[in-house]
Subunit: 256 residues, 2 copies
DNA sequence: TCTTGACATTGACGTTACGTCAAGTTGTAG
DNA sequence: CTACAACTTGACGTAACGTCAATGTCAAGA
């Protein structure tokens, strides 16, 4: 009775808009095994399989990778956890793309004004090697000086876009702090990860472009948020800044 | 004199934060050939190569694929074109991610309320096969009816997010129309592509999830924008709606 | 019965930008 | 002479399939 109403692979494909190749792929990786094969190895799917496929497609629309979809189908109680983790990934990606967009816009407008793309002048006076010699403890001040220089070198529009994104992050930090989220909670670590991604996108900063910001640099900045009222104010006063520092500290010591 | 100041692969790696593997990769694909090899096939880079690498990294930060970076370095006059095309891709991606985010949020809140992820009720009464029987000309009205139904089934937050993204698209359409952009220009086609992506993300609509919206459906909606003042108003009156229709028509007839 | 489609199957390579071994070579310090 | 560091060239793995290619099955027409 569960085998009633069998569908061929092309029927399923037509109903869902997928290709037969995709269905064979899902079969191959075990995500959606065919209900049965006839003597010629031809696949057939029953209604239960179609229901499963329905769910798979809904999850796929959310951008979830197939292996995580498979995992969720195995243990439905992990649904919310997986989705919330996924949500953080998505937000981080949007942050990164937004940064690429504003940088691209600035680059285009510079090119139209005749400026070359080789903006070595932006980096001039900046020597990466000096960071290698720096004592980790001093990163805080140095990082601040360099990021300030970088900031002043940007166009007005780009600055605006950067502000918006940083403001969103700040708002999320404050909200988390006020909601009583613990610094060692997954939510706080997710924010720390976004902060890292944001920092890593600053040209000239250590870890630029690699996605991995050196731990000492992250910690140095976190300390600075607490020590410097100019920053502390943004993050919701001393209490908020301390929360940020603790969250980043926890995140850094537990990553990888 | 151009060979002065040669750097080993590890030196370059340390200066840029890249790995030696990456530099070898760039050599292998011809993006950044080593300046010279010694008798033991060991790579050395001169200052000119470092400058080229500098440019490569700046472009990579913008999210440009390596082959397009190589292309731009070959023909610098194409810089602006390539970047503007790239910008459209980035924007489309952000649109897609934003949609995934709001859908994920809705799904999570539904799960927390105890609703299952198998939201077949959302699709109930909706039969994909009926679209296959539809005459293409009738898609306009049917699509409208179904998208209206879908719209009413959403949560308030998700509706809000959708509105924002659609509003952004509409604003861009109006701006393009007012700037005197031609419906058969690349800019207009880029907007049409975004419109397609946006439409394709509506569950229940033809082409949902595949990224490819059937041509007749796109055209049917475009006609509707002109015919129905409720839509025309959004797109800047009859003139704006006609521009949208023309741009979509051109886009559809020239894609693939 | 033989042939010809129509539709299915299982490989297997291509895509993107490298990470990660593995195995071999070269130069140098002890 | 040897151990070791640093380099080299393969070659596989990654995500989610698209796109052939070679082969197999089944039914209808000559």
């Amino acid at each position: 009775m569960s085998k009633r109403n069998l569908h061929s692979i092309q029927e399923v494909a037509a109903e869902t808009g997928l290709t037969s190749r995709t269905l064979r792929h899902y079969d191959a990786i075990g995500l959606l095994p065919a209900t049965e094969l006839n003597h010629a190895q031809v696949r057939y799917y029953d209604d239960q399989a179609l229901l499963r496929l329905q769910t798979i497609l809904v999850m796929r629309e959310l951008g979830l990778p197939l292996d995580e979809i498979a995992q969720m189908l195995q243990s439905p109680q992990s649904e919310i956890d997986v989705l919330e983790t996924h949500l953080n990934r998505l937000r981080t990606k949007v942050d990164q793309l937004s940064q690429m967009i504003s940088s691209s816009e600035t680059t285009i407008s510079n090119l139209k004004k005749g400026k070359s793309i080789k903006m070595s002048e932006m980096f001039e006076g900046f020597d990466h090697t000096k960071y290698q010699d720096e004592v980790e403890q001093r990163w805080g001040k140095k990082a601040y000086a360099d990021s300030d220089k970088w900031w002043r070198s940007m166009s007005a529009e780009e600055r605006e876009s950067w502000k918006q994104r940083q403001n969103q992050l700040i708002a999320d930090w404050r909200e988390a702090a006020e909601a009583g989220i613990k610094p060692d909670s997954p939510e706080a670590s997710a924010l720390a990860a976004r902060q890292e991604a944001w920092l890593g996108s600053i040209p000239g900063a250590p870890g630029f472009g690699s996605g991995k910001v050196p731990a000492a640099y992250l910690l140095g900045l976190a300390e600075m948020y607490v020590a410097d009222p100019r920053f502390g104010a943004n993050y919701g006063g001393l209490v908020g800044a301390t929360f940020v520092k603790d969250a980043i500290t926890f995140y850094v010591s537990n990553r990888k």
